[in-house]
Amino acid sequence: MSWDLKSDRPIYSQLIEQIGIKICSGIYPPGSKLPSVRELAQEAAVNPNTMQKALSKLEEDGLLYTNRTSGRFITEDAKMIQQAKQKLAQDQILEFLEKMKSLGFGKSETLSIISSMLEEAKQ
């Protein structure tokens, strides 16, 4: 999965989000070792200081932990990952609802469109 960075938002918050997605989707499995700051920075073509900042935040949030001698690892706490997943999903939905609102759709209208589209998809 490549790194898709938008130009109008702080880079470090986008890095946090994208690494979060990679953890939730299992690209970085629980308990596995994360590549080094330098490797990640090069992969995403961003400044290592920015990557460092993003990783520190993820560590603070508990998704990553540092083993002093051997580097950074993904948490093994499945509950924690589930929470992060939930949070990412909520963010996506909020963004979607925001867009629907700007198109002039109310809550119930939005809901009915979704359910009718899901019905169609089933058939």
């Binding site: 960075l5 130009s7 109008d8 938002r9 702080p10 880079i11 470090y12 918050s13 330098r38 920075a41 090069q42 073509a45 961003v46 400044n47 290592p48 200081n49 920015t50 900042k53």
Partner: protein, 232 residues
């Protein structure tokens, strides 16, 4: 964090033209800094002052506590806007020359980068294209283990693919104690790798800020902000 480059009330006049007018700056170690401004804003003048190629009209400039001179040249790696290398020399000869000149030159790094960019060390410089010459020059500059890199328009003449490689090179050779100052107006290409930016206009510093602060506060990229600040 200690600073690597400081300017105090720095001015440089050419006759009645004020190329730099009372500049105060403080650049810390371990940062990648973009020196951004339109043509003729004073970017190159500032970089030349740092390299002792020009002397200030007023004020002072210090690099790691020293005024530009022999001591600072040992720790500053400079990519000038124009090439100064002898055309008749082979790439390998120039590399040899750099190794003789600079204690901190890492020849393995240079050879490795030449290989990755498919540049034949046995070619003479005059047979290379403009873009390839620029690549050679950047390789020379980035192969030094310097404390301060001053890159004046490093990506101007090279194609987008090589540009990516060059940015990659800058990132991979960068160490935590070194600072890289990049002057350019190709902002969108480099803003992802910058920590901080300095906007300079008519010889004056109009803004110094971190890239993430700009994006966070203004909700737009540095490139977009630049277009706004320097709207013609």
């Amino acid at each position: 964090m200690s600073s690597i480059l400081t300017c105090k009330n720095l001015s440089k006049h050419f006759g009645s033209k004020k190329a730099l007018d009372n500049i105060n700056l403080n650049i810390e170690r371990g940062r990648i800094v973009g020196l951004l401004g339109p043509n003729g804003s004073g970017k190159s003048t500032l970089i030349k002052l740092c390299n002792d190629l020009l002397t200030p009209t007023a004020g002072e400039l210090q690099i790691a506590g020293n005024t530009p001179g022999v001591e600072t040249k040992k720790i500053v790696s400079y990519l000038p806007e124009r090439t100064y290398l002898n055309d008749w020399m082979k790439v390998s000869e120039i590399i040899q020359m750099f190794q003789d000149f600079y204690q901190d030159f890492n020849i393995d790094k240079a050879t490795d980068m030449l290989k990755r960019l498919n540049i034949n060390p046995n070619e003479r410089l005059k047979t290379l294209s403009k873009g390839t010459k620029e690549k050679v020059q950047l390789i020379l500059v980035m192969s030094r283990e310097a404390q301060l890199y001053l890159l004046d328009e490093p990506i101007g003449g090279v194609d987008p693919a090589a540009r990516d490689y060059i940015l990659d090179t800058i990132l991979s050779n960068y160490n935590e104690n070194a600072t890289i100052v990049i002057s350019t107006h190709l902002i969108s290409d480099i803003e992802k790798i910058l920590d901080d930016i300095i906007f300079i206009k008519d010889g004056q510093v109009v803004l110094t800020k971190s890239v993430d602060d700009i994006r966070g506060e203004n909700g737009k990229s540095v490139d977009a902000l630049f277009r706004e600040v320097f709207k013609c």
